[in-house]
Symmetry: C2
Subunit: 353 residues, 2 copies
């Protein structure tokens, strides 16, 4: 890791070759499966990568918050799916302003959300596309049954300024078969009622290589796949060699034979465990365990390492969850292998509203 | 919570009256205990509050990273303790630039860190003050024994451009008695060796109301006390009424009778559990449990609530850990009770290097 010795740690490195390879692999898989790809930009928050995803064949992008949509629209992305229930006058006004300049569609899972949207969007010549969000097993947002989905789609259909866009779900990891069945059963109800379902959109990087088994879904929205991370390696969706985002950190203390302290804590790696043990994978010392994090310190158990890190050594870590990591940094450092290419601002960082 | 209905969620509210009351209570306790207060600004990252802490009687401030020190020095704070092992040429050059314009002292727990500092700081007329960091039970950085502390202090003493400043520890929560004994035993060794220990500095909000039992410590460095949070309430150091930082969030979905989804997830509340169950305390619905977080969604179990929140309702949450929450937001909204006073930039946000 001496190649990056001159950099001030902690910082986030993004390997451009790995990004390109990850993007292409997913687009290829989508093409083979005959499914449209609509990548989620919450992971990278960088317009340049969103443009690259579209250039490679994505039909548009997915965003999670209005703030992300605004940044991406400003950067010239013009086909956005906002997979969030937009509630409240202020937010609807921002959505309206976006709808006036780009193609943006949203989701709803309740009559309240639909009623709010119907209040703000009233132009039958330029209706807002609204998907019905379906809870196919994740236990988060979403209508609970196909009948509820149908009822909500009908409600959307009664609003002159809204148009039913289809069904949207974020399935629980490894539950893509259950999600496919849920959507298929729901679609049957729509068919019986002669209500067209223009798009059925699903997602999730953990099951990205099962896109062809996504049943009747017509669109897939993966996010993490651009960078990959330790949780995706654990899920079998990637190898550590494919992980494009790494955290560069310095060993600042070796208080005991078995302990090393690095200058990356929860304000760098986040406390996300995602069911894993430890807070990341140290590429240079794979036997090391990141056993604890304070805000600015990471505590490593290095007792299992044959060669142990020394004070001043620089290490590279694959975090458990890459998405919130890039959200903590104002900039990321783009590299190709051992060469620094450019430092770029994370344009949509912190746009949580 | 209708008072804040017009605000766009999620956002961070800081109640100025509670801040003032928390700051005064700690300064009063320090004065009564005859111990100097050196608040840690990692919690608020706001120069205005640092200045207020000094105006109320603090001897200076504590920072955790060089980036925080730079922001605070730029804002006119001129007595800083940087409680981190500064390692690497680039970081030492930044430390030197700070030392040239303000009073800044650092810590070291190894011969390597001291050797690096001795290389950069060589002026005997303006030596850099260096504390020996002691591991009194936290299991993070720090020398492991009084004898190691003495040896490292001697090493610091041999460097013309360094001056031994004293002993520093961050004790484990609720282990202040063990920490006091550790420091007392170490001090005895220094006394035997006739090496003066100018300052003995300890800290931690969980035990802030035991400052008078901090033994031979001459200085206390609390951070969280300015805002307080759910973990401090659990530790018995505060009540929910004293918590100055709250997260304002909107209920965006009520998919089932027992479930509510808010627009604040791990990118707002963080995944910090700190040994607690759930990810925060909902002030308006104290029986609600924040059982899960995705990046932008919070999942509440509201089955225990008599009155249940509706889609569009705005709620206020005391997070488990306030420090990383204010680090996620570009701005915080200062309020007094129900009145918005000002929106301010979190100046040292994300300064992790």
């Amino acid at each position: 890791m001496t190649a990056f010795k001159q950099l001030d740690t902690p910082l986030v490195l993004i390997d451009l070759d790995k990004v390109e390879s990850n993007l292409k692999a997913a687009q290829d898989a989508a093409d083979r499966a005959g499914i449209a790809l609509r990548p989620h930009i919450k992971t990278h928050k960088l317009p340049r990568f969103a443009h690259r995803q579209v250039a490679l064949g994505a039909v548009g992008i997915t965003v999670q918050k209005l703030g992300e949509a605004e940044v991406m629209a400003d950067a010239g992305l013009d086909d956005l799916l906002l997979t969030f229930n937009i509630v409240g006058e202020k937010k609807r006004a921002r959505l309206k302003a976006l709808h006036d300049r780009v193609t943006i569609r949203v989701v709803a899972d309740s009559a309240e959300t639909v009623a709010g949207l119907a209040e703000t969007f009233a132009d039958p010549h330029r209706p807002l596309g609204v998907f019905v969000e379906c809870d196919t097993g994740m236990g988060r947002c979403g209508v609970q049954s196909g009948n509820e989905a149908l009822a909500l789609a009908r409600l959307i259909g009664t609003a002159p300024g809204l148009a039913f866009a289809g069904l949207m779900t974020y399935p629980a990891a490894k539950k893509y078969r259950e999600a496919a069945k849920w959507l298929s059963d729901a679609k049957a109800l729509f068919d019986q009622a002669s209500i067209p379902v223009p798009v059925i959109t699903t997602g999730g990087t953990p099951d990205i290589w099962h896109m062809s088994e996504a049943g009747i879904a017509t669109e897939y929205r993966p996010g993490t796949y651009i960078y990959m991370d330790r949780s995706q390696v654990a899920a079998g969706a990637a190898t550590f060699e494919q992980c494009a985002l790494t955290v560069l950190a310095t060993v600042v203390s070796r208080p005991t034979e078995g302990r090393a302290i690095i200058d990356a804590g929860s304000k760098t790696l986040t406390s996300d465990l995602l069911g894993l043990e430890g807070y990341g994978h140290v590429l240079d010392y794979p036997e090391a365990k990141i056993v604890g994090l304070s805000e600015e310190h990471g505590t490593l158990d290095v007792s299992g390492c044959r060669d142990k890190p020394k004070v001043g050594d620089v290490v590279r870590i694959v975090p458990n969850h890459c998405c919130p990591v890039s959200n903590l940094f104002d900039t990321v450092t783009l590299v190709r292998g051992d060469e620094v290419v450019e430092v770029v601002e994370v344009a949509a960082r912190g746009r949580v509203d």
